[in-house]
Symmetry: C2
Subunit: 329 residues, 2 copies
DNA sequence: CTATAACTTTTTATCGATATAAGTTGTTGT
DNA sequence: ACAACAACTTATATCGATAAAAAGTTATAG
C-alpha cells in the first residue's frame, strides 16, 4: 500500500528511476534495477491506477447502462461486450436502472464525470430528455435496441420491422385470419412499435385487412398471460397471436391452454428472441432468433471504433435474425 | 471539458474559490459565487472524478467478478447487489471470467490497482492460488457461492448440504430405491460436493444403502441430457435422480422421456435453484428455491460492512431455501 | 481611529504517477 | 589530457482536484 515514493526511499533512488523500472524502460543500470525490484517486493508496492489514469488522461473504462441486467437480451449482450472489452483491455462500469428514466440520464452524467471512454446504453425508449443527455455527453454513446439514427446517435438494432413482417407472413401462410399482437409499453419504439408495424405491413401485403388487436403489457410471462386472457374474451374468433417477446408468448400459450384450446393448432403463436424457455415449454415455441451476444459484441466494436477513431462516422447497424420453426406455428 | 483552472481564469478568481463554490462550502461572497457559477456554465465545466478520487483516496468503486454473467445465479445476484450499491452511492466494476481461473486472479489484482473499495466474487471453486490471491488483496473480498470460512474468507452461501439432505429425504419418501446424482465439476465444493454429501447423509439416515451414482458434468441442459443418457444405460434400475441444478434436471428429463419413461412417475427428478425453465417444462420441475437476488443483496451489505467497519469480523452467512413441489417429484 | 475579530480569497502542498529537462557520471578519441 | 558523447540518474512540472495555511479585506468594538 505504499507509493513510488516509499519504494524510492527504500532503494535509495529517485521516484523517476522507480517508475522507469516498473515500466520496463531503457536506461536503467542492471544493478539499480535489481535494487529497485527488491525494494518493490519488500514494501509490497502496488501501482495506483487512479494516479496513472489522471496523469495519462485515459481510464480504459467503459460505462454500460441497462434497464434490467437479469433479462435475456441484457445478460447475453453484456457477455458479448465483456468479451470484446476484455481483449481491448477495458474495464466495465455497470449500472442497472430498473427502467427508471431519470437514473439513465443520471448515469450518463456520472459516467462522464468518471471519464469513461464511452458508454453503451441498452435502451427501451428514446425521449427528448434522454436524447439531450446523450447529446451533452462528452464521450461517444452507442444505443442498443432502439434506433437513434434520426437523432444522429450510433445504434445497434435488430430488424424489428422485418421480424414483424416475417411473423405476419408466416401466420397468414399457416391460415390465420384473425391475428392479435401483444406488445409492451407504447414508448418502446422497437419492441412494441416496429414489430407491430411489420405485422401490419404483412397483412397489407397479403391484402388481408382483418381487424388487428394491439395490446400493451410488460416483458413478463405473467403479463403475456393476463393480456391474452383479456384478448381471448374480447375476441373469441382469434386464431393467431404474434407476441413481442418469447416470455409474453409463453404466457399467452398458458392462457390459451387454460380455455382448452391448443396452442399451435387452434391458435398459432409466434414469439421473438429465442429465449431458452421456448425450447422447453409445451408445445415448444416457434420464434425468431435474435443474436444478443452478437449485438453486445458488435456494439462494443462500434464503440471502440468511435473512441479510437475520433471522426468515425455515426453508423447504424441492423442485425438480422433467423426463423425458428417449432411446435407453436 | 475544461478544468477548475479554466473556470478560475474565466471568473477571475483562484482555483480554491471555484472548488469552494462547486462543493457548496461556506465563506464565499454571494457576488463571487454568482460570477463563478456563470463561468462554470459558460465553459461547460464537468468535475473530474479521477482527480477527486486521487485526492480523496476514495473511489466508491466495487469490483464484481463472475464466472458467467448470463447464468441465473449471477444475473439475479448482480441485480440484487446493484440495488444495494446504488443506494450506497457505489459504482460497479464488472468482470466476466468465463470460468478461467487465471482471469479470476488477474482481476483481483487489477481491481486492487484500481483501488476498488471491495470485491464480490462469485466462486465456482476455491483452490490454493485463488485463496492466496484473496489473502493478498488489500481490500476486503466476499465470496458468493463457496464456503471460504475455513480460510477466514467472508462468504455467502446457500445451505447446500441441507438441500441435498432434503432432496434425498423427499425422494426416499416418494419411494425411490435407486437414486442417482448428476453434479458438475468435482472442483465445485458447493454445487457438486455439498449437495451430493447431503444426499448421502439422507440415505444413511434412512438406512438405505443403495449404490449411489455420482456423475460429473457442466451447468447446461445439454450436459444433463448426456450424463443422464449414459447413466440410464449403465444403471437401468434407476428410479430417481437428484440434479445439482435445474438446467441439468431439465436435460435429464429430456433423456428420460427419450427412452419412453415418464419423469416424475417412472423416474423422480429433483433440481436445485428454481430456474424459470422449470416452471414451463413438462412435467414441471420440482426443485428448491434459492433466493439469488437476496444473496446478491446480502453479499453487498456484508461487503459494505467490511469496508466501513475496518474491524468487522469475518462472517459466514448461510441462506436457506424453500422446497417447491411440482410435477417431477 | 486603531485593534481585533470576522470574513473572504489566494497561496502552497498534496494525492501518485510520469514525461521532460537538467544534471552527473564514465568512456572514447585525438 | 581535454573535449565530445554515451549512459544513467535526478529534479521539476504536470494531470485536476482539495485541504490547510497564509494573506488580504471588511466590519465591529473599545
Amino acid at each position: 500500500m505504499s507509493g513510488l515514493h516509499t519504494v524510492a526511499k527504500l532503494a535509495g533512488v529517485s521516484k523517476s528511476t522507480v517508475s522507469r523500472v516498473i515500466n520496463n524502460e531503457y536506461g536503467v543500470k542492471a544493478s539499480t534495477k535489481e535494487k529497485v525490484q527488491k525494494a518493490i517486493v519488500e514494501c509490497g508496492y502496488m501501482a495506483n491506477q487512479v494516479a496513472r489514469d489522471l496523469k495519462s488522461q485515459k481510464t480504459n473504462l467503459i460505462g454500460v447502462i441497462a434497464p434490467r441486467i437479469s433479462s435475456n437480451a441484457v445478460s447475453l449482450g453484456l457477455e458479448g461486450m465483456a468479451d470484446i472489452f476484455e481483449q481491448a483491455g477495458k474495464h466495465l462500469l455497470l449500472a442497472n436502472t430498473l427502467q427508471n428514466n431519470e437514473k439513465e440520464i443520471e448515469y450518463i452524467m456520472r459516467f462522464n464525470q468518471r471519464r469513461v471512454e464511452g458508454i453503451l446504453l441498452f435502451a427501451t425508449h428514446l425521449d427528448t430528455p434522454l436524447i439531450e443527455a446523450i447529446n451533452h455527453s462528452t464521450v461517444p454513446i452507442v444505443l442498443i435496441g432502439q434506433d437513434g439514427s434520426l437523432f444522429n446517435i450510433p445504434s445497434i438494432i435488430h430488424d424489428d420491422i422485418r421480424v414483424g413482417f416475417s411473423a405476419g407472413m408466416r401466420l397468414i401462410e399457416a391460415g390465420a385470419k384473425n391475428i392479435g399482437f401483444i406488445g409492451v409499453h407504447s414508448q418502446d419504439a422497437a419492441v412494441d412499435g416496429a414489430r407491430y408495424q411489420g405485422l401490419v405491413q404483412a397483412l397489407q401485403h397479403a391484402k388481408q385487412v382483418a381487424p388487428l388487436f394491439h395490446s400493451h403489457g410488460e416483458f413478463t410471462i405473467e403479463s403475456g398471460y393476463q393480456q391474452t386472457k383479456k384478448l381471448l374474451m374480447e375476441w373469441p374468433q382469434l386464431d393467431a397471436l404474434f407476441c413481442a417477446t418469447d416470455r409474453i408468448a409463453i404466457g399467452a400459450m398458458r392462457a390459451i391452454t387454460e380455455i382448452n384450446k391448443v396452442p399451435g393448432k387452434d391458435i398459432k403463436v409466434l414469439g421473438v428472441g429465442n429465449d431458452e424457455l421456448g425450447q422447453v415449454c409445451t408445445p415448444s415455441l416457434s420464434t425468431f432468433n435474435y443474436a444478443f451476444t452478437l449485438s453486445g459484441k458488435k456494439s462494443a466494436l462500434m464503440l471502440l471504433d468511435l473512441i479510437e477513431n475520433k471522426n468515425a462516422e455515426v453508423s447504424k447497424l441492423v442485425l438480422s435474425f433467423d426463423a425458428i420453426e417449432r411446435g407453436s406455428c
